[in-house]
């Protein structure tokens, strides 16, 4: 009796088995297809490679393939595929390694060949110009080889590129140092490399005084885009139009220095700065420009060359102190100069103006100038009457006439002689007054007239009752004690109170006064101590 239920069950089980077997068969087929079409084409070259570099990888890949086959045989296709994934990864990695190795070796050959061409010196490191550069380049190559052996081709190639830039730099350097003008392309190429600009800057910095103009001009052109520098010398070179090396003038611009200077300009303040687009340039005569552009600037013109005269080096001229013509009566020992070495104009003038500065700040002469020890100065301002009255009193003449004469005003008619005064004496007094008045005007430098200052007005001199009156500045009349000239250092000292102090201070600052000079004892040493103090 057929057992229908059992048969159905068995048939169902057989069908399930068929389905299951079919699935297994399909999975195996997928595995095999992938292995043969996707994996082995990449793994087989590695496994079969004779490259020592790939020995380990080939062996490991072969072992993984075997494991995959084992798992597939056990129908564990998940594990089998995972192992195939690993084989694929290892194969691709090994292939990449092989490619990197091939590329590296090719590049290494190029770089080494390039280094070999840099010099004929043997050993290469003995090249007098770039021996050090070659040594450095070879060191980079050696480091690259160490990295390649690890193998770390990324680092190795980076080091090779550094070596190649150094090689390129050495080639440029050898040319430039040898005063051979490189091509523009060579410099541009170097600058395009990582660190190339810095290397070019270092090369130029090392060129020194013997660099040729053309070499530096090209460097300036490529580095900074300056293509029109034609008349600048290198530090010690000749003109731009020749290759001769000559001695430059000290004040010549130096291309070497300008190059170095320009390397220090921040990039953001060069041509790319938008503000530079607003710079307006006007060639030629500014008179041709628009009135707006020239609104305030018309100081220089291209049409007129100014003639400049030189008096040599006035600052180095000796400055004469106690000139006998100006100060004939400096006889007291302490008032004589400390030594016979004359100070220089420059040094005297510098201290003279410093003295004015301190006098202005402290009001020194304003407070002290009237004292007898400080010259006994009287500032008469624009008033000529004190001088006129003093002269009139000394000469027995009309003060108003003298005052007007001092002010360049005519007296018409001239004053008649007072009752009892002889006309001849009166006229003689007037003439003496006029002689005196003519001599004390600012334009006559009365302070420098040593002999006259010591002589009384009645004898044709400038002194009146122990005082000397004169016009110090256009609207300033002064008088001082004549006897103070015996303690003076220059005639100019007696122009005005400020000059009295300034000239004394300058002589003191230049250490030309003795410690016993009245001015030193009285105030200079105390108020303005020098370091070290004067002896």
């Amino acid at each position: 009796m057929p057992n229908i239920p059992l048969a159905k069950k068995l048939i169902a089980e057989a069908a399930d088995l068929c389905v299951s077997t079919t699935i297994v068969a399909d999975r195996h087929a997928d595995y095999a297809t992938r292995r043969d079409t996707k994996i082995k084409p990449k793994s087989t070259p590695i496994v079969n490679s004779t490259e020592a570099l790939l020995t380990d990888a080939g062996r490991e890949i072969g072992e993984q393939l075997k494991k995959a086959e084992g798992e597939a045989a056990k129908h564990d296709y998940a594990k089998a595929h995972t192992l195939l994934d690993d084989v694929l990864t290892r194969s691709e990695k090994a292939a990449a390694l092989l490619k990197a190795d091939t590329d590296y070796k090719a590049r290494l050959g190029v770089v080494k060949n390039g280094v070999g061409l840099l010099t004929t010196s043997n050993p290469a490191s003995s090249d007098p110009v770039i021996g050090g550069d070659i040594t450095g380049t070879n060191q980079s190559i050696s480091k690259a080889e160490i990295e390649a052996a690890k193998p770390d081709y990324d680092k190795a190639m980076k080091l090779l590129e550094e070596a190649d830039v150094a090689r390129e730099s050495a080639a440029v350097k050898k040319k430039m140092k040898g005063n051979v003008v490189p091509t523009e392309g060579e410099l541009t190429s170097l600058m395009s490399k990582p660190g190339g600009t810095k290397l070019l800057d270092q090369i130029v910095a090392g060129l020194g005084a013997t660099a040729q103009q053309a070499v530096l001009h090209l460097a300036m052109k490529v580095r900074f885009g300056l293509d029109a520098i034609k008349s600048i010398s290198s530090a010690n070179a000749g003109t731009a139009d020749t290759d001769e090396v000559a001695t430059a003038v000290d004040s010549d611009l130096s291309l070497n220095k300008i190059y170095e200077l320009f390397t220090k300009v921040p990039d953001k303040h060069t041509k790319d700065n938008p503000s530079f687009a607003k710079v307006k340039r006007y060639k030629g005569d500014p008179g041709d420009l628009t009135s707006k552009a020239r609104a305030k600037g018309d100081y220089y013109t291209s049409s007129e060359k100014e003639i400049v005269l030189s008096v040599g080096r006035p600052g180095q001229y000796d400055y004469t102190l106690q000139d006998p013509g100006e100060l004939p009566d400096v006889t007291e020992g302490d008032c004589k100069l400390a030594d016979d070495v004359k100070p220089k104009h420059f040094d005297n003038n510098t201290l003279h103006e410093a003295a004015h500065a301190i006098d202005d700040k402290k009001g020194f002469m304003r407070r002290n100038g009237s004292g007898a020890d400080y010259g006994g100065w009287i500032d008469h301002g624009g008033d000529v009457m004190p001088a006129a009255k003093a002269a009139a009193s000394a000469l027995n003449y009309d003060p108003m006439y003298i005052a007007k004469y001092l002010m360049n005003e005519a007296s018409n008619p001239e004053p008649p002689p007072p009752t009892g005064v002889d006309a001849t004496d009166w006229d003689a007094a007037r003439d003496k007054a006029k002689t005196w008045a003519d001599a004390i005007r600012k334009s006559e430098n009365p302070w420098a007239k040593g002999t006259l200052c010591n002589k009384n007005i009645t004898n044709g001199g400038l002194a009146i009752a122990g005082r000397v009156y004169h016009q110090a500045y256009d609207d300033k009349w002064v008088s001082y004690l004549a006897e103070k000239r015996k303690q003076g250092v220059t005639g100019y000292q007696f122009r005005a109170p400020g000059e009295w102090f300034a000239e004394l201070y300058a002589a003191y600052g230049n250490r030309k006064l003795k410690a016993g000079h009245p001015a030193v004892r009285l105030f200079l040493a105390k108020m303005f101590p020098l370091n070290p103090p004067i002896a």
Partner: protein, 231 residues
């Protein structure tokens, strides 16, 4: 006050002797008119009485302006190549007059003075203009360097210099000129937006190296970093 000394010079044209008062020092606090003359360009000009040829005497004097904090030693432009030696002399002179070798009262004044050395009238005039317009001369020199670095074909040549002509407050522009150093002939005029100067002045970090180099001594001038100098 301001010191002058008489000199006799041969007329550059007819060689007749010309009497001239050569300046030895300018005290701008006491003689502001002399400062005005320097700025206007009339200072130390003369003419031959015989043939009428006009000329200008090379500067070589000390300039003092306590009010504006300026102490300048002015030298002929022809001596710029000697700037290193001159700087040493100037430092010594300042030390004696306002520095550590001077009395304390003078040192007090000296602390507010900017010590500068110039070569030629244009350079001196420029320093006065810079102070007049409240600019900083170190930053102004950096501006010049930026211009020289960035302009196409600037007239970089041995006998040329770039100087401030004026400050145009209306247009907010600085006018500079390339001039021939000896004779002051105009080569080229530049109108610069003031903002360019302001940007450089505000950039403390980027320009610091050059700022230090250019202000390393009294000769604060681009030529300090551009002339060969003496070994």
């Amino acid at each position: 006050m301001s010191l002058f000394r008489p000199v006799e010079l041969p007329c550059p044209s007819c060689e007749a002797p010309v009497q001239f008062q050569a300046c030895g020092s300018v005290n701008a606090d006491r003689r502001p008119d002399l400062r005005d003359e320097i700025i206007s360009g009339s200072f130390q000009r003369g003419a031959c009485e015989k043939c009428g040829t006009t000329f200008r005497l090379d500067p070589e004097f000390v300039y003092l302006d306590v009010g504006r904090g300026q102490w300048i030693t002015a030298f002929p432009v022809a001596r710029v190549g000697d700037w290193e030696h001159i700087e040493a002399e100037v430092r010594e002179a300042f030390a004696k007059s306002y520095g550590d070798k001077s009395p304390p009262d003078l040192q007090e004044i000296g602390r507010d003075l900017r010590v500068r050395t110039t070569f030629g009238w244009a350079a001196l005039r420029e320093k006065l203009l810079i102070a007049e317009h409240g600019l900083d001369d170190v930053n102004f020199e950096l501006l010049k360097i930026a211009l020289l670095r960035s302009l196409d074909d600037p007239p970089l040549q041995n006998d040329a210099e770039l100087r401030l002509v004026t400050v145009d407050a209306v247009e907010n522009e600085l006018e500079l000129a390339f001039i021939v150093s000896q004779g002051e002939q105009l080569i080229e005029t530049l109108r610069i937006p003031r903002e360019l100067y302001d940007e450089i002045a505000a950039d403390q970090e980027g320009w610091q190296e050059l700022r230090n180099e250019i202000s390393a001594g009294p000769f604060v001038d681009t030529r300090r970093l551009m002339v060969a100098g003496k070994a």
